[in-house]
């Protein structure tokens, strides 16, 4: 079972914009086993989308550059694959569901044809069979196949998101990257879509990376969670580890600032300060300027501490201290 299916090692990505270098991803390592779901949580600009795009190798050519690291998928380093072989990986082995369904669909193509396109790229089938398959996919995500020939503008947001999902799942990918698949949707629709993704994932035993900043979604969907801050994973662990025993001050802050459904007290525990400027990240731990427990050592090299099992945390504090922080944060 513990088969390493996806392994990202020390991935680094920078963007160049107006002569400034945005350090979007700064040494991220991820390990994902078959059939499991990893949640990537973090604030806007933390680098979540960038990681997913790097895995797909669809970062914008000019602006972005992968400056280091390896991505092993099923035993192949896909960063070293020649472009045409990479094309076969995309869509077939790895598929992605995009953040904003409103813009992820080509407005001038019928939704059916957009699904057909990915099918015909990877399955050697004739057009007729492909269209059949695309119709099946539409029905699978709960859209009648009669609507094959309609255009995206004729669909509501939730339906568009389902089309995007159908497109991603059309070739039974082994890895699904879902980039905030529900943020653009209403709560009730979001629930429908999340259910759908979960069902399909279970049905095909797909591995998934779910990107979101909604801790509720993570709680309901993921097996593992990686908390990302300024392009680094500051805490990683099983869902239970993170939700029940958060260790990193940032993670704790994050939970604290949620207007808890059950908590009676009025004031929220907010994290003071602002996310760092990605063009000028602070030395050492990027969180120290906002951290209530910051010490001088935070500006130096930060060790990765194992807390329990697969629960890791990047912080200068010792494990015991962290646990203490945790209990402090909860009270």
């Amino acid at each position: 079972m513990s088969e390493k299916f996806l392994e990202v090692k020390d991935l680094r990505v920078v963007y160049t914009q107006n002569r400034k270098t945005v350090q979007a991803v700064n040494g991220i390592s991820i390990r994902l086993e078959r059939g499991r779901t990893l949640g990537l949580v973090g604030e806007t600009g933390a680098g979540k989308t960038t990681i997913a795009k790097a895995i797909m190798r669809i970062l914008p050519d000019i602006a972005a550059k992968i400056t280091g690291g390896e991505i092993w998928l099923d035993g192949v380093d896909i960063l070293k694959l020649p472009p045409d072989e990479m094309m076969n990986v995309r869509g077939e082995k790895v598929a992605m569901i995009f953040q904003d369904p409103m813009t992820a669909l080509n407005p001038l193509m019928t939704v059916g044809d957009q699904i057909l396109e990915v099918i015909r790229l990877h399955d050697d089938c004739d057009k007729k069979a492909g269209m059949d398959r695309a119709g099946d996919m539409l029905e699978l995500v709960g859209i009648p196949r009669e609507r094959y020939a309609e255009y995206p503008h004729q669909f509501s947001g939730g339906m568009k998101q389902r089309v995007v999902i159908a497109m991603a799942l059309a070739c039974d990918p082994e890895l699904l990257l879902a980039d905030e698949p529900t943020t653009a949707l209403d709560v009730t629709i979001q629930a429908q879509v999340l259910d759908l993704i979960r069902e399909l994932k279970e049905k095909y035993n797909t591995s998934m990376i779910l990107i979101t900043h909604d801790l509720g979604v993570v709680a309901q969907t993921c097996d593992d969670v990686a908390v990302i801050y300024a392009g680094k994973i500051v805490e990683f662990g099983k869902k239970e580890d993170i939700f029940d025993h958060p260790a990193h001050p940032y993670t704790i802050g994050l939970f604290g600032s949620l207007p808890g459904m059950a908590v009676g007290e009025k004031r929220l525990h907010s994290i003071s300060g602002l996310p760092p400027d990605p063009t000028a990240l602070p030395e050492g731990c990027a969180f120290w300027p906002r951290c209530p427990h910051a010490v001088e050592a935070c500006k130096g090299k930060i060790p990765t501490r194992k807390i329990r099992g697969v629960h890791f945390c990047q912080c200068v504090k010792e494990k015991e201290e962290l646990q203490e922080v945790y209990s402090h944060g909860r009270s």
Binding site: Q17, N18, R19, K20
Partner: protein
């Protein structure tokens, strides 16, 4: 404190504007042309209308770098002098067109409804006649001369500005800060001119910069077909028109004025491109 902030902002703007080699080139070229046109005539040993029948059609030489025209006038001097007209013509008509375009556009876009429909239908009619044709007719109507040409060029170019501004206003009007201004009792005037205007002029600034160039070209075309500035004013287009008769024998008579126009317009366009890159929020960090 305020002052330094301001300067850093404009410094920052200049830095962004002059980032690329092309806009830098445009800037330098334009500055050079403007300086030359402002001060060049004082440096020249010849008067702009000094007729010298000994030197009719003298080709480029040491004494007359760009040669002399049919009446022995020094072409370089006339070019420098004429540059003032061309630049002034381009600038004033582009500005005038922009200002009118913005006013109508803002009014149409902000008020909407009947006012908008009226203005826009009027613009439809207006722009059913391509700009150059309208210019030709206005020139015919107003007679020749500097002022008439400015009016002709302006009139021909208003609809574009109105459309553009209105489009911007429509996009901008939806934004919440306009509602905010309304909710704090901002008057219509204040909303239109304090809030909307500064936010919609930016594309107009770019367009206007570029349109100074096209106005210069258009003015030259008008002069070329005999409807623009009258002789002996050394407007570049008029010089071209005068020189075209001699295209066979004295090509320098049309080469230099044409080059002057082309370079000026080029400079303006390069600068306009630079401006767009510097001002366009999409490309802004």
């Amino acid at each position: 404190m305020k002052k330094t902030e301001k300067t850093t902002y404009s410094l920052d703007f200049m830095r962004r504007l002059l980032k690329g080699w092309s806009s830098r080139l445009g800037f330098i070229l334009l500055a050079l042309i403007i300086l030359l046109c402002l001060f060049g005539p004082f440096l020249s040993p010849y008067g702009v209308n000094d007729i010298d029948l000994q030197n009719m059609y003298t080709g480029p030489c040491m004494a007359h770098w760009f040669g002399c025209d049919a009446m022995g006038r020094d072409i370089l001097t006339r070019l420098l002098y004429g540059g003032r007209y061309s630049l002034l013509l381009g600038l004033s008509s582009a500005l005038l067109a922009a200002v009118l375009g913005i006013i109508f556009g803002v009014v149409a876009g902000y008020f909407g409804g009947k006012i908008e429909a009226f203005i826009m239908r009027f613009m439809d009619i207006w722009s059913a006649l391509p700009g150059m044709l309208l210019c030709i007719m206005i020139s015919a109507f107003m007679g020749a001369g500097f002022f008439a040409t400015v009016i002709a060029l302006t009139v021909g170019n208003i609809p574009g500005g109105v459309r553009m501004t209105r489009g911007q206003v429509l996009a901008e009007r939806k934004k919440e800060y306009i509602e905010a201004a309304e909710s704090i009792n901002g008057s219509k005037m204040a909303i239109m001119f304090r809030h909307l205007l500064p936010n919609v002029v930016q594309p107009m600034i770019i367009i206007t910069t570029m349109s100074i160039g096209s106005m210069i070209t258009m003015a030259a075309s008008l002069s070329y077909i005999g409807l623009g500035i009258q002789p002996p004013t050394p407007e570049w287009g008029a010089m071209l028109a005068d020189g075209r008769v001699y295209i066979r024998n004295y090509p320098f008579l049309i080469t230099f004025p044409g080059l002057a126009i082309a370079l000026t317009v080029l400079a303006l366009n390069l600068l306009g491109d630079g401006l767009r890159d510097a001002l366009d929020p999409k490309l802004r960090d």
